[in-house]
Amino acid sequence: MPQIAQLAETWSSQVFWLLIFFGITFFVIGRGMVPKVMDTVAQRDSQISGDLAAAKAARDAADAEEEAWRVKENENRAAAQAIVAKAKDEAAAKSETRLKAAQTRLDKKLVDAETRIAEARTAALTEVESVAVEAAQDIVATLAGVKVTRPTAAKAVKEAMIHG
């Protein structure tokens, strides 16, 4: 077993070189390089957690914005509906007044026309009466040779017209 057989002659060189090379490992790699590697890891971890927090904040902001937009949208819709309803009501009221005015005008025309018809009829009747009176005077004068005065004839005609 060389580990024991060579111990006396090699132990000092083994210990010496091990201390040298393990020392280099510890001071150069362990203390010089490893902390930098771990720094990078720590930096990345903090970057990742920071990014995640930022993303979460952004998402929350977006959610809030959407909520606000929804509220505003609902308000706008309600306002629009109110405007439409109002316009509808106004239009209905306007058309109603116009209809009423037209109705009134028509009624008045009708009344006028009826009045005119009645007048015409009265005038016609008067004419017919006077014609009848004259005719009655003529008929009496011709048949009976009696000269009937106009009031008498008119009275007779009136009586005849009333009794039919």
Binding site: P2, T10, S13, F22, V34, V37
Partner: protein
Amino acid sequence: MAAEQAKVDPMKQFAIEPIAGTQGWELAGFNIAFTNSAMWMLVTVVVLFLFVLGGMKRELVPGRWQMMVETFTGFIDNMLEANIGKEGRKYVPYVFSLFMFILVANLLGLLPLGIVGIHPFTFTSHFTVTGVLSIISFSIVLLVGFWKHGLHFFSLFVPHGTPLPMVPVIAPIEFISFMVRPFSLALRLFVAMMAGHVLLKVLSSFVIDGTNAGLGFGALVGLPSFILMIGISALEILVAGIQAYVFALLTSLYINDAEHLH
């Protein structure tokens, strides 16, 4: 006849040979020859340096390499945080160095570079090396313990809730189990690495000798041994990782004792 036979000495792989021209190097009277063991320590440091260097791009979105390095640092970081807590973070450089140094050394020792004439040397299969590493870990435990708690650190040997009459019995047992730690730490790694490598070498000698002895022996002994070798090589890769992990884990548990006294 014997000279022609392939001689597989399962222990030769652990022999330390100074690299030509360095046998005589001395420092304060101690021999510090640059051996094949030191060579593979150098290779381990270079490989580990290049590996971690690839993870230093410091990109926000890591590539595969950076991801791999960060996985290892994160693994050590999590282990220390789970075992020690927040104070464990300051031991990451040491435990990471320890874990990666052992892991890379174990894995390099398993590389089949013998095919191209380079013979990998697993320096973690030498208790001189594992002993030094465990003494460093144990020293850190002692330093941290006495630095933080002073003489109160000795209360480590009296677990919570021990009845007073039991203290004289319990304390020596705890003390012995505490003092055994550096040895068990060093021997565990050394034995695991050495056993695996010896087993592979013994099996390879079965393959070579069995096949040389003829077709019958080759089919009966060589082939099953070869299949077994493949399986055990896979197992050894696992052991390489597990032993590095165990060393780092136990170190962190011992540091936890020093930090928190139970």
